[in-house]
Symmetry: C2
DNA sequence: TCAAAAGTGTTATCGGTACACCCATGT
DNA sequence: ACATGGGTGTACCGATAACACTTTTGA
């Protein structure tokens, strides 16, 4: 799954590609996905942002970590291809999936011209453990990845910026959580992503006034203190749609 | 310039492509651009949004209007390709250029699979007249285009939404205007794009408080009334950069 | 009974909106 | 002088932020 350049190479008359042929051949098209999940920090136990990377088993950048991705193949929409990436890497279906950007710089890959259409996704924390620790797939803290293959560092940084930005105005935090969650859990999601503390009182009002979130009559038992009420997200489920004309694919602000 | 599918076809073993071959061949990659400019309305004389379209001279959709675009060729970044589109269609260099979205549905083109990376651009009103009315390039009012080739109607709608959305939080309106402009002119830009009247008093305060706009000591003479002061935009000039890590490529809100 | 989180109430402040008003110029 | 757009002042309203306070549970 980390080996897509073989596909593109197959299209070329000459796999390694001399300069003239490289100039004339159409760019290869690849899909990559930045997958975010929350996992408890090793130290504090508080939730933090993690993402899975795949170790490259061939040149270029052999041995380095890269975003999961692959070629865009027959009979697959862009979104479907990203969804398949996600499934193959984490064993999960995306809770949220949206196009990030198309990266098409001339020298992203040393061997040939590749245009990558990148998606970003949110998956649920508990589920994210499942994939049985394959040797070549590993989870990293999102704010500490470095030394990635290609321009993937830049892509991760941009995806992170986009996630933080979008979190502030769109209802996407829910997709990190299960069906039932407490307001404190939801607040921890925001705090982990935005990396700053939020006032619990104001956060409560803000989120309960927003549409799409409903109190249930269940309570979370087993805590040390007063059992908090459980809530549910009842808004639209963009599980597989964030294209034009649906729920926006965009951000705002200044990074 | 409206004929890019010939390029992609050349890559295929069989131009028309039977089903099996179409399934296996990699998708063609194209760049298209939605180009916005303000022109005086024929009736009211007030500025309105226009965009140039290109008439298709071959099947599919022969005779219908489509976005200017072309194949992504050797030695050209995505941005450069979009910029070239723009130059070839309007004779203009973009004042503002940003990636919109990558459209990759399976059946966008009846003859073969095409993935289009679409950019959107703003150009200056007066300059936009220049290109000597070629037969196959024509300007249309942005809110009245219809019956476009491929999925270009959807693309235009999305670009329009993005423009309106971004106008509300980012400093892009300036790119429709020349170096010096009055606040009334700037307000007319906003009113034309957002399609609603704005309070002149509040607009003034809003825009003068914003960074990047400076009053000059010049005044616009020749009007019927008190000569208004001319302002200049002195913020960053994203003439050719709106990629990740620069000034964002995004929006917000709900269409 | 006490600690700590759940949950409510109160107030100050800020930004946006509406709109009354004065200013400067061509006719 | 007067009509008109340029430009300023001000009052209101809703959203946010800060923080004091009450409630409910486990230990």
């Amino acid at each position: 799954m980390s080996e897509w350049y073989q596909h593109a190479a197959a299209v070329l008359p000459n796999p390694s590609g001399n300069i003239a042929e490289r100039r004339m051949a159409p760019p290869a098209l690849a899909i990559s996905t930045v997958i975010f999940a929350l996992k408890p920090s090793v130290n504090s136990g508080r939730p933090t942002l993690w993402l899975p990377l795949v170790r490259r088993i061939r040149e270029p950048f052999k041995g380095q970590w890269a975003l999961p991705g692959g070629p865009l193949v027959h009979d697959e929409s862009l979104q479907e291809a990203a969804s398949r990436n996600l499934l193959e890497t984490t064993g999960l279906a995306p809770r949220y999936l949206e196009q990030l950007y198309a990266f098409g710089g001339l020298h992203r890959s040393p061997s040939q011209r590749v245009v990558s259409i990148v998606y970003w996704a949110l998956v649920q924390s508990e589920e994210a453990e499942l994939p049985g620790e394959e040797e070549n797939v590993r989870w990293f803290r999102a704010d500490r990845v470095q030394g990635l293959a290609f321009d993937h560092q830049e892509i991760v940084d941009y995806a992170l910026w986009r996630l933080r930005n979008k979190m502030e105005y769109a209802s996407i935090a829910y997709h990190f959580l299960g069906e039932y969650f407490t307001l404190a859990q939801l607040r921890e999601v925001y705090e982990a992503v935005l990396d700053r503390p939020l006032d619990p009182a104001n956060f409560r009002r803000h989120v309960t006034n927003a549409a799409g979130i409903e109190p249930s009559d269940r309570y979370l038992q087993g805590g040390k203190h007063r059992p908090p009420r459980l809530y549910r997200y009842t808004g639209p489920a963009p599980s597989s749609t964030t294209a034009p004309n649906s729920t926006s694919a965009e951000n705002r602000g200044t990074p």
